[in-house]
Symmetry: C2
Subunit: 191 residues, 2 copies
DNA sequence: CAGATGGGATGATGCTGATCATCCTATAGA
DNA sequence: TCTATAGGATGATCAGCATCATCCCATCTG
């Protein structure tokens, strides 16, 4: 074969990475195959050499998005020397930076309602990624027993997701920051 | 004219009501003009006798959705004899009933990320509806001063929105109920 | 250097959906 | 009963998009 054997895998991964950004920025429905391929510097035609269907790409791009944000949050938690890990996660998650750059943020804040609407098959492929995300965050959550930490995960992430989504609807940076700060204060004083 | 003068206004309102349901169930992008008209028992062609554009319908349907849920929550709060109004709102909002029927629920849980992505013009038309929703809920929120109640509104609704969205991604009713119950407990013990 | 191979490009195809011009028809009012 | 009128239906147009058949060409192998 003409290319290095890993070449195709690399291109595949680049498409997935680009799609994971575009999907968070434009939505599952708002993401066109041709646009993703253009992001990658290719044309739409070659797409089906890499993926069996658009849905296949969407699932892979969501997996990548979950991994991406979990990596970032885990890093923030691990680098939090002075404070509790979960507080570092809250501060990182609820930053203006992520508010203004949905494409780098959590796929839940960007896509949860859309993910709830995809067909059964796709939902069943997405669910494990959500579970995996939760399990990666669990060790950083407050609480002594696993069940406590699991409840903390759901409470903390529910609040962060909702606050981020409300903030993103607001036109002015100062209003967005007010909502984010309010959720930060609420969470940091609740556990 | 052949019809009662209020006939057109009635049909217009029926289209808006049907659209407000469909939009919450299928998303802004997922809602086709022809589908809404079919819901109303009409065909797609007459649509532009009632609305200048699809976006115009979307804005009106969102307004209707906000009014719809605000009415329901206000009623729940007012009928809460034994308990604090805001607790009645939390219990109503975070019910399996609303989880399984997005089309009757809060447009924020169903559409917040999509609303954050619509163009500036539409966003500026949606914002007042969000503000109005907040203001209608404010008197029921815990806290003495307005600023406290406003912070409570953002904290409580953020948590409810996020929890509902996570719950809606889950395939089994028992899992959904667990997430909803977790958020309910968290909120009811936090204020 | 020649030939084979597969990644990528070009260019259909067909569907869905928004928008709109035009036609149809029921009925208020004479 | 007759006519004007406007709400609603039909059908066309046009654009966006997923999917795929086919072609091209870079380069690895011999």
């Amino acid at each position: 074969m003409r290319y290095q054997p890993e070449h195709k895998a690399e291109v595949h991964q680049k498409i997935v990475k680009d799609a994971s950004r575009r999907v968070r920025a434009e939505g599952l429905t708002g993401t066109a195959v041709a646009a993703v391929m253009r992001d990658t510097g290719l044309t739409h035609g070659g797409f089906y050499k890499h993926f069996g269907s658009k849905d296949e790409l969407l699932v892979e791009s969501l997996r990548e998005a979950f991994r991406d944000i979990a990596d970032k949050l885990a890093r923030a938690a691990e680098q939090s020397h002075a404070e509790t890990p979960w507080k570092a996660i809250v501060k990182t998650y609820l930053s203006l930076e992520y508010c203004d750059h949905a494409e780098r943020g959590c796929p839940l804040t960007a896509l949860a309602p859309e993910m709830a609407r995809v067909d059964k098959k796709m939902r069943s492929q997405i669910l494990p990624e959500l579970v995996n995300y939760k399990n990666r965050m669990l060790p950083f959550m407050p609480g002594l027993r696993t069940a406590d930490r699991e409840r903390a995960f759901f409470s903390i992430f529910s609040t962060m997701i909702g606050a981020m989504e409300i903030a993103r609807m607001l036109p002015e940076s100062s209003m967005r920051e007010k909502v984010l700060a309010s959720a930060r204060d609420f969470l940091l004083h609740s556990f």
